[in-house]
């Protein structure tokens, strides 16, 4: 095992969705910039879109939607707690992003006239653009990375960011999960594009890697940003999704809805007006699941043979292409069977809910020179296109930032401390395996943090997390792969602890199921119409505080404000 030193200008951590777009944009705007695109896996097949994407969920296309409509819809869907400037920064560039991808060869659905075939899935507006041939997305992006000559390093797991004496970004420290090499990277600006904290809750199947998110996205970015002094936002606004039970992939109402598929209870009746994934919708989904009308199913058995075949041609090929095999194993045929659904384990994710590193409309975090884009940043409901636009925004700002700044001095003591911390599990020959500690930690996350949230339960959970923190010292790794897993367990533990504390801090209920506290069951706008933020305090402990919601660019009227609270279909037969 050796130490490698790398020097670059713009370090991009994560080569999934936001990362490649950031690299390309930086090269376009400032061709002389030294760029390094890092990935824990292989950029060819990494991140949430490793197998492509079946639809663009938030396309803002002229003629179908305006940035104003979109920003308002997401504001309402996220119960008002948004920085509209950040959502607008995405919305005004959404269409340009789609056209750029289209030029590169990404296939979006079009009608007979060549116009984009936008579908309505959200409660109010139409923003869903199907990608029936979206399986090749990663290949298209990789071709562009090659064309622009972007330097790439695969299989590097970054574990800590480095900051200079003035607190600005100075680089990062990583481990090569194949060779075990210790890698020190000096950089003048750093982008975190590390995805969601997807290995937080344990899937109901009990299989550690059977997560909704790509399990490589373990929450490393949340932990790294926190330890670098950045502000994190909305960690109490969990990601919880309605999924195919056990398979744990999307069911997926966004794809099937426009073809006539919908969510039903065990009686075969609809109970929600919109299948768009909001906290309010998840609350109604959970209520139905737990009620005498449960569980919940995806209904496609009323559709014509050719429609079902079209659905299979998308869902069994793109994004999570093994779902057809799963259904075959359970003898489930869309033509005659309902698909049993369940709710996912909890996670942290800006792209689906709103929990992430605080960024402004240029993807700047609160640490100078540190940027965040994609699921790891807190731009609500930003999805794939939002990740791509934020990658571009980060790159555009970073190359200007770099222009008049020298490399910050890195702290050799911090590098050495991280080396000791990282490699400690290799020196032990007796102790606990990362798998075992991760299993226990994530089971405790389910037991104590899965909504409905209860104060005393979360407090007990925190005690268990403190005990598990002591177990971290006993982690044993036999090779670099296990060393990577050991580093991930630490990140997951940080996420669990911060999620519990953020949830305890906000003494109200909000975002439907995402932050439903049975001992504070009501929304309290008077005291809690604010972001809950956390950063590492001077004493090393997390410091929580409120951040006011910036004045809206597009104010809402009272009727608009309430529209997502009205998502349940009130029906006498259902209520009975």
């Amino acid at each position: 095992m050796q130490t490698r030193d790398i020097e670059t200008d713009f370090l991009i951590i994560g080569g999934g969705t936001a990362g490649p777009l950031a690299a390309i944009r930086a090269k376009q705007k400032a061709p002389g910039t030294r760029i390094l695109l890092l990935d824990k896996a292989n950029v060819k097949r990494s991140g949430a879109i490793a197998e492509g994407m079946d639809s663009a969920n938030n396309a803002v296309i002229p003629g179908f939607a305006t940035p104003e409509q979109y920003v308002k819809e997401i504001t309402i869907a996220n119960d008002g707690i948004v920085n509209q400037a950040t959502i607008n920064a995405y919305a005004v560039r959404s269409f340009d992003m789609i056209r750029e991808l289209d030029e590169w060869g990404v296939k979006f659905e079009k009608d007979g006239t060549g116009d984009y075939a936008v579908k309505k899935v959200h409660h109010l507006g139409a923003y869903v653009l199907p990608m029936p041939e979206g399986g090749s997305l990663k290949k298209v992006l990789f071709k562009q990375l090659r064309k622009f000559g972007i330097p790439i390093e695969n299989r590097l797991t970054v574990t800590r960011l480095l900051t200079g004496p003035d607190g600005r970004a100075a680089g990062a420290v990583a481990i090569d999960s194949r060779s075990g090499d210790f890698v020190v990277i000096r950089a003048r600006a750093v982008l975190l594009a590390t995805g969601a904290a997807g290995r937080l809750g344990l899937p109901a199947s009990g299989y550690l890697f059977g997560t909704y998110e790509n399990p490589t996205n373990a929450g490393d970015g949340y932990s790294m940003a926190y330890h670098a002094g950045a502000e994190l936002s909305g960690l109490e606004c969990f990601q919880i999704n309605p999924l195919i039970k056990d398979y744990n992939g999307p069911a997926c109402a966004y794809v099937t809805g426009p073809f006539g598929g919908y969510t039903v209870n065990a009686k075969g009746e609809r109970f929600i007006k919109s299948d768009y994934w909001s906290g309010q919708m998840m609350f109604e989904f959970w209520r139905e699941l737990e009620s005498g009308n449960g569980p919940v199913f995806l209904k496609l058995d009323h559709l014509a043979e050719e429609t079902v075949r079209k659905i299979e041609d998308v869902l069994h090929i793109t994004e999570r292409p093994t779902r057809g095999r799963f259904h075959a194993g359970r003898h489930t045929d869309y033509r005659r069977d309902l698909v049993e659904m369940h709710i996912s384990e909890i996670g942290l994710c800006g792209g689906h809910s709103a929990s992430g590193i605080w960024v402004d409309e240029h993807a700047r975090t609160t640490v100078p020179g540190l940027y965040a884009a994609g699921d790891v940043c807190n731009v609500a409901h930003n999805y794939m296109l939002g990740a791509m636009v934020y990658g571009e925004l980060a790159a555009e700002d970073a190359v200007d930032y770099i222009a008049d700044r020298e490399q910050a001095q890195i702290d050799d003591a911090a590098v050495e401390a991280e080396r000791q911390r990282l490699y400690a599990p290799l020196a032990l020959d007796k102790g606990l395996s990362p798998t075992q500690v991760e299993y226990k930690l994530r089971r405790m996350v389910n037991d104590y943090l899965q909504p409905p949230k209860v104060t005393t339960k979360m407090e007990i959970g925190l005690k268990r997390f403190v005990e598990i923190r002591a177990d971290i010292e006993r982690l044993v790794a036999r090779n670099p792969h296990e060393l990577m897993r050991a580093a991930e367990v630490r990140a997951i533990l940080d996420c669990a602890e911060l999620a519990a504390r953020a949830s305890l801090y906000r003494t109200e209920s909000r975002w439907g199921l995402y932050h439903y506290r049975t001992d504070y069951p009501r929304r309290d706008d008077k005291n809690w119409f604010a972001f809950v933020e956390v950063k590492k305090g001077a004493n090393g402990e997390p410091e929580f505080f409120k951040r006011p919601v910036p004045e809206y660019i597009y104010p809402l009227n009272e009727k608009e404000r309430q529209s997502y609270s009205d998502i349940r279909i009130e029906d006498d037969a259902l209520a009975a």
């Binding site: 060819k44 890697f209 790509n214 399990p215 292409p321 093994t322």
Partner: protein, 79 residues
Amino acid sequence: MSAIAQDATTAASIVVDYEKCIVAKGCRICIDVCPTDILVLDESDGKIKMAYDECWYCLPCEHDCPTKAIRVEIPYLLR
């Protein structure tokens, strides 16, 4: 890499057809593309194996295999 976890009591979700696999000709594509990095070349018998029970059943290994030698099954706990 020393730990080859694959044994008779662990149902590996990644099944390699060794008749079709061209690892002997230097192909390492499945090892390269796996997001969770669980495929290894077992030096003792020259075969590609699943070394860790950490499969996301996502399919890059199967889709990118030039000889279609890989079949991914749903992991037993989820089936």
